[in-house]
């Protein structure tokens, strides 16, 4: 059993070999989880599967909470506190999409394989791997498949859990399928917004300038692009999707624009939001179409410092595994940990391509490095190397 941090680093190749020997278990879990459709709010099939796996591995307190989070506990030797490992269960695909996964000797392919079926498969496989390695943590290990995470679901599952959890949580790790080497230690300020344009049925289409909903949304985009974006604090407006119209010739009566404001500064996010709301109000009155603006989700900036022991030790683990660590901000589960002042990071498990497309692809070989990284991190947290120094 590794006690010094150097021992943990030295044991990483052994962890990777053990992970390789669990290849079929990991891939079988990935396929069986990945082929269960799980749009946000409809993750129950995946939750059931995960709980069955936890029960088969002899985990304790296997349960589903009110929001549909599926979780269980691998009890620690001491059990005074817990390490929470979380992977979101939902995917951006609908139930109608073909969720069949394909496995060849180098890749696994199909809807949602990297985001985030692989993360959930890791949760299901980790107890087997720890048993293989005869690793017993002092802290309890809480494994959680989080429901209602993506898009407008706005991390509801993890939020609910952390608001109602009474167990002390020492640290959190958010698992994403890709990219291995990713290390998110903080969240940027973010606001996820949706602008809807509806043209009333009684609209006078003969009126000069009559245009339809798509052109109005286009006008909104042009106006947003005119907003002055500072270089510092770093700020961006990311346009995610536009939907509208019904075919070739009918003038569109509905259109939707979805986007995010991201900034290192919470104040800057608020400032841009106000400007966008003004644009919406102005265009709504000018065009006589019904323009509405909704905030679907928001994040406060924050996180652990770059030189926090959790961050530095994770980077050392990645380096020893031959992986170049890349620190980047996250707007996912990590931000919920930040809101609760729990030190946490987000890491990836493998490399892949075509994220969120039907031909999404995860490479198999790097997955074992990703698992070894996770085992190293768990031991580092458990032995106190990731605790903040006073």
């Amino acid at each position: 059993m590794a006690h010094k941090f150097k021992d943990i680093l030295d044991a990483l190749p052994e962890y990777r070999t053990a992970a390789e020997s669990a290849r079929e278990t990991l891939l079988a879990n990935l396929v069986m989880i990945g082929e269960i459709p799980a749009p946000s709010g409809q993750e129950d099939g995946r939750t059931r599967f995960l709980l069955d796996r936890f029960a088969e591995c002899g985990l304790h307190n296997s349960s589903v909470d009110e929001e549909g989070n599926g979780m269980a506990i691998l009890p620690g030797e001491v059990g005074e506190d817990s390490i929470l490992l979380v992977a979101h269960l939902d995917t951006p695909f609908t139930r109608k999409d073909d969720h069949t996964l394909r496995v060849d000797n180098m890749t696994v392919r199909g809807c949602g394989v990297t985001d985030n079926s692989l993360g959930v498969a890791v949760l299901a496989t980790l107890p087997t791997l720890l048993e293989k390695l005869n690793i017993h943590l002092n802290s309890d290990l809480m494994l959680m498949g989080a429901s209602k995470s993506l898009g407008s679901a706005d991390l509801r599952g993890l939020r609910f859990f952390l608001e109602n959890n009474e167990r002390p949580i020492r640290a959190g790790i958010c698992i994403e399928g890709i990219e291995l080497g990713r290390l998110s230690i903080g969240s940027i300020g973010m606001m996820r917004m949706e602008i809807n344009c509806h043209v009333p049925e009684e609209y006078d289409w003969t009126r000069f300038g009559a245009s339809g909903a798509i052109l109005t949304i286009n006008e909104v985009i042009n106006k947003i692009l005119e907003i002055a974006i500072p270089r510092r604090p770093r700020t961006r407006i990311v346009f995610g999707s536009v939907e509208g119209g019904k075919g070739f010739y009918p003038v569109s009566t509905n259109a939707v624009l979805r986007f995010e404001i991201r900034s290192d500064s919470a104040e800057m996010v608020k400032n841009i939001r106000r400007q966008i709301e003004d644009i919406v109000e102005e265009l709504s009155s000018k065009t006589e179409s019904d323009l509405t603006c909704k905030v679907l989700a928001s994040r406060q900036p924050g996180g652990i410092a770059f030189n926090h022991p959790f961050s530095t030790h994770t980077r050392k683990i990645l380096k020893r595994l031959g992986v170049e660590g890349r620190t980047s901000p996250s707007t996912s589960e990590l931000s919920v940990f930040i809101n609760h002042n729990i030190p946490a990071v987000t890491v990836g498990i493998s490399t892949g391509e075509h994220l969120n497309q039907a031909n999404e692809k995860a490479m198999i070989a790097p997955m074992f490095t990703g698992l070894a990284q996770l085992v190293g991190m768990l031991l580092a947290i458990d032995r106190g190397y990731c605790d903040a120094t006073e």
Binding site: E24, T25, A28, T100, R102, V103, D104, N105
Partner: protein
């Protein structure tokens, strides 16, 4: 055994066998060896997944299967490479019993598996199943483990996408409903209780497999059922509902070829069993038509349902199994 009694006692649902540990215990108590055979021809899209799932769940987690073998008809894609990567024993059909020559057809692979594999029970699973799950194996194996009198268990798939309370029809695919069920109704009414007699998934005891002939083509499933029924009676057959099976859909024209092969096998069986008098020599060409530039063209398919003899009659098999003292 009456048909209704058989339906009540020999028709199962896979969920009845949820306790996989219990199946493993019972299998070990009986000292049974179980082989899984996957016949393949260009199945690179699905073979990796099948082997990964069976190996992880039914070899490593619950040691129910003792060997996983892919018997390949000469795939030109990466089927054999992928299967071997995940630990299946991969065989080229033509390399097994080479002195018996090589024939093309799924039945040939199934027959050669009897020689090559070691199991007291062999489970055959098609390689083109997109929604493969462990139930496809344990649902077929469990009745053989728990019920000594059952020798041959067929899969069927019967989960409707939507249905209100009451009576609903249940049945097989197009060839089953249009050809096989009417034929069974005419000649073997008991066998109509098999919901999907043509399904490609079944588990069989070796004592049965080595004693029945194997058509090498489309007729293998039909002939098995008739032969098992004739030799061991209805009570030796069982069927398990495995819920849904997602697979490639076949074109009607391909189903025509399948029906032609099955019909050849069926007629040969009823003649051999003396149910119908001597038939004239039957043609082996199926003719289908297509229109090419306003001209009707004839397409000829030569389909000859050759048959392999019971494996127990093959000297190399008898020698391998130590049957001749």
């Amino acid at each position: 055994m009456q048909l209704n009694e058989w339906l009540a006692h020999n028709t199962f649902h896979h969920s009845a066998f949820w306790d996989l540990k219990q199946i493993v215990r019972e299998k070990e108590k009986q000292n049974l060896k179980v082989s899984l055979c996957i016949p393949t021809l260009n199945e690179e899209k699905t073979i990796g997944k099948e082997i990964v799932i069976f190996k992880s769940e039914l070899m490593n987690r619950y040691p129910m299967i003792d060997e996983i073998a892919v018997i390949d008809s000469g795939s030109t894609d990466r089927t054999r490479e992928i299967a071997a990567e995940y630990g299946a024993d991969v065989y080229l059909s033509e390399h097994i019993l080479p002195e018996m020559g090589a024939r093309k057809g799924k039945g040939e692979n199934l027959w050669k598996a009897i020689y090559q594999l070691e199991g007291d029970i062999i489970i055959y699973i098609d390689a083109d199943i997109k929604n493969i799950r462990p139930r496809f194996v344990y649902g077929l194996l469990a009745p053989l483990v728990y019920r000594q009198e059952i020798k041959y268990v067929k899969a069927f798939y019967d989960r409707p996408l939507a249905f209100s309370q009451g009576v609903r029809p249940s049945g097989g695919g197009r060839v089953t409903e249009i050809l096989v069920r009417p034929l069974f109704s005419l000649f073997f009414p008991d066998l109509t209780a098999l919901v999907q007699p043509l399904s490609g998934e079944y588990a069989v005891r070796r004592e049965v497999l080595e004693n029945i002939p194997f058509p090498i083509g489309y007729g293998v499933e039909t002939s098995h059922i008739i032969d098992v029924y004739h030799k061991w009676g209805l009570s030796a057959l069982g069927q398990t509902d495995l819920d849904q099976r997602v697979h490639r859909n076949q074109a009607t024209r391909d189903l025509g070829k399948m029906a032609f092969g099955i019909l050849q096998t069926f007629l040969s069986r009823v003649q051999k069993l003396g149910i119908v008098p001597q038939l004239p020599e039957l043609h082996t060409v199926l003719r289908q038509f297509q229109v090419n530039d306003k001209q009707f063209e004839q397409l000829e398919h030569h389909i000859l349902e050759e048959e392999r003899p019971p494996m127990i009659t093959i000297p190399a098999y008898r020698k391998k199994r130590g049957m001749d003292g």
